[in-house]
């Protein structure tokens, strides 16, 4: 059967069970879009290519499936780079298809030509330039396989226009076969893990995004309940373990809880699963868990001994490793000690320095908005965030009980991520409550996606913590630059209520604490796109805070702000 490149493209995406494509058309992908039109593919038209990639990323994080994005050549392709780097840093499986000028024009500085495989080489797991239509189907299959296997990540496939127009004999291909790792050898070290657990007095579990990517949340919960060891998590790992469980310590690191950071700093055993020891959690590396033996379980051998040296390293997908650990516990192979003194100490830290803020009845506190959001959504919403104070407050004050419900740009810290990511999550789950916790700076970075949300009737809610500042940068200027607020005053902003209305969304505003609940109630339960503009305390800071380069046990608890 003779098929054109575009027909093969659509067919292969169907075989990969792609049910939503986020994209933006252009000259080099006209043939692909013509085929989309003919074959009635579900396509979500963004208003900027960056929005399309973040939406594919949000779709992937919320659903656990591979996100797909299609854009044109040149500027279309270069506009995706921030989104690709965002997905790369957090190991999110997406496949980005970029149009390219026809093969005879490649290298001639043709109109809308960009060497996008060259540009994205350092921020993709892998990328391809398809030069022959006969390679197309196999390349697409490989791209999906690479994106989702091992440590996941973005894969870019560059598609020259003539390749998509050319025809070839098409035969369906078998699934990509690979010598899938079995982790058998690594798992042989697991008995040694129990040896350390049985000797430990102050153990702690540190879990990360690898648990969510590896779909190992249930296995993690079983493990924690079996050993009764307190657990903390990285930002990207939130939701893997219930935020309402008594063993939960909250997030650790620069804006981690006092008790999570104290527990890490005083533990004698750290069981780190699916983490890569980012500097935002370790801070001063030689004072990070200084007295601890470290067990590191991660799928990526390059993460082992990269920042923190492990005493026992197990290169494995988190799921089989935890399954084996749980099985050995169930079979009563190992006696699990009680850690009563340690748990008492942690309870003491929790009582001494709980995660808190100073409520005001005069001005809205952002933390209060998040608490109310948690209450009114019963902790069941999918929360996306932008980057900065809004992100940290969402991470601190919303208790995530489920994996795949906290979508945030952890590694790259991309402002403008949250809203398009919420669109992607809402496409994956049309009936779930999806909320973007935003700041007035970040939301303006991809505000154009309001049109996308309205066009597809996506009832995404934006909870806008509007303090008229680039709040986190301002906080650093306050603490480390003697309050010289260089270029962080954002008080010149649009009227967000009118802006929402201009796009056809609902705009609501709260300027006093007593209005917060009613605005949230109305906003969250209106079945359309809503911006809730909360005018919050302007110079509130995120606390606790670990100064960069200092030990995480030395926190600024923001007492002046609290009392």
């Amino acid at each position: 059967m003779k098929l054109t490149g575009s027909q093969i493209f659509v067919k292969t995406l169907r075989e990969e069970k792609v049910d939503a494509i986020f994209g933006y058309p252009g000259g080099a992908v006209l043939d692909i879009y013509d085929e989309f039109h003919k074959s009635k593919v579900k396509h979500v038209l963004s208003r900027h290519e960056q929005g399309a990639v973040h939406a594919a990323d949000g779709y992937a994080r919320a659903s656990g499936k591979v996100g797909v994005c299609v854009v044109t050549s040149g500027p279309g392709a270069t506009n995706t780079v921030t989104g690709i780097a965002t997905a790369y840093m957090d190991s999110i499986p997406i496949v980005i298809f970029t149009g390219q000028v026809p093969t005879p024009f490649i290298g001639t500085d043709a109109f809308q030509e960009a060497d996008i495989t060259g540009i994205t080489r350092p921020c993709t797991k892998h990328n391809f330039l398809v030069r022959h239509v006969s390679d197309l189907a196999r390349t697409i299959k490989e791209a999906f396989y690479i994106a989702r296997s091992g440590r996941p990540g973005p894969v870019l496939v560059d598609l020259p226009k003539d390749v998509m127009q050319a025809a070839t004999d098409y035969r369906p291909l078998p699934e990509v076969s690979s010598t899938a790792p079995t982790y058998g050898a690594a798992l042989k070290r697991i008995p040694a893990v129990f040896d350390l657990i049985s000797k430990a007095k102050n153990p702690i579990i540190l879990s990360g995004g690898g648990i969510i990517l590896g779909k190992a949340s249930n296995e993690l919960r079983e493990f924690v309940q079996n050993v009764k060891i307190p657990i903390t998590s990285t930002l990207v790992g939130l939701g893997a373990f219930p935020g309402t469980d008594p063993l939960w310590l909250g997030m650790l690191g620069m804006h981690g809880t006092y008790y999570a950071n104290m527990a890490i700093s005083n533990c004698d055993l750290m069981i780190a699963i699916g983490v890569r020891f980012d500097d935002r959690i370790t801070s001063k590396i030689d004072t990070f868990a200084p007295d601890a033996k470290i067990i590191h379980i991660d799928i990526d051998p390059a993460s082992i001994d990269k920042n923190v040296t492990a005493d026992i390293s197990i290169v494995s997908d988190c799921k089989p490793a935890l399954q084996l650990i749980n099985k050995l516990i169930r079979d009563n192979q190992f006696a699990i000690p009680q850690y009563d003194d340690w748990l008492k100490q942690i309870a003491q830290w929790k009582t001494d320095e709980p995660l808190t803020y100073c409520y005001s009845d005069k001005v809205i506190k952002s933390q209060f908005v998040i608490e109310k959001l948690y209450e009114l959504s019963r902790g069941e919403a999918i929360i996306t965030t932008e980057v900065g104070q809004n992100q940290m407050w969402a991470a601190q004050f919303y208790k995530f009980d489920h994996p795949n419900t906290f979508l945030s740009s952890g590694g790259l810290g991309t402002m403008g991520y949250g809203f398009p990511a919420a669109i992607g999550a809402q496409v994956a789950f049309p009936d779930k409550l999806v909320v973007d916790v935003a700041g007035d700076g970040s939301i303006q970075m991809n505000i154009q996606e309001l049109a996308t949300a309205i066009q597809y009737n996506l009832p995404v809610k934006i909870v806008l913590l509007n303090n008229g500042y680039l709040g986190m940068v301002r906080q650093w200027q306050e603490l480390f630059y003697e309050k010289r607020y260089s270029q962080t005053d954002m008080s010149f902003s649009p009227d967000f209520v009118k802006l929402a209305e201009a796009y056809g969304a609902l705009g609501l505003r709260a300027t006093k604490p007593e209005e917060v609940e009613s605005v949230l109630k109305q906003g969250l339960f209106t079945p359309k796109t809503v911006i809730m503009d909360f005018h919050v305390s302007r110079e509130e800071g995120v606390y606790p805070m670990v100064k960069p380069g200092t030990p995480i046990a030395e926190m600024d608890l923001g007492r002046e702000m609290i009392n």
Binding site: R121, H126, A302
Partner: protein, 161 residues
């Protein structure tokens, strides 16, 4: 920890962008490539890249792990650690004058250099050997007036066990 030169040998797909991926992986993480040799293997679909870089053992391990993650890389080995043979090749162009002619001829004989071109006014010599032999040869010829050199990176091959 002690820093030394390591010879990293990679078996890779013989494709246009593979060298860029390898060099980008090192450069992007701040590791310098000190010498580099690339050529196709007995299997025309595969190439061998031999590069040298300096670092302590943990650094070299990190480099190897990062290279191993590349989809187009099949095998990464540190030939410094195993019993391998190592060679470099250098081409040397020298001015030939009445004064230095006899000295050059003498050095050629002593070091068993290959003479590629010998004209009345200049010559081109070829030297192959271990990196150490290269340094030694160049040091000897330098006082006689080297005009230009072209030197390959180190190539290395594992001995049979």
């Amino acid at each position: 920890m002690e820093e030394k030169i390591h010879i990293i040998s990679l078996l890779v797909n013989n494709k246009p962008d593979v060298l860029a991926r390898v060099s980008g992986t090192l450069g992007g993480r701040g590791y310098n490539i000190e010498s580099l040799c690339v050529n196709v293997t007995a299997n025309p679909e595969m190439s061998r890249i031999v590069l040298t870089t300096t670092g302590d053992k943990p650094t070299i391990t990190k480099i190897k792990k990062q290279l191993d993650k590349l989809i187009d890389v099949y095998q990464v080995s540190d030939l410094t650690e195993v019993n391998s043979v190592q060679r470099e090749l250098v081409l040397i162009r020298m001015k030939v004058t009445e004064e230095n002619k006899s000295k050059i001829t003498e050095t050629i004989d002593t070091f068993k250099f290959r003479v590629i071109i010998m004209e009345p006014d200049y010559c081109i010599l070829e030297v192959t050997g271990t990196p150490g032999k290269m340094e030694n040869a160049l040091a000897h010829l330098k006082p006689m007036g080297i005009e230009d050199i072209a030197r390959t990176g180190t190539i290395a091959l594992k001995r049979k066990e």
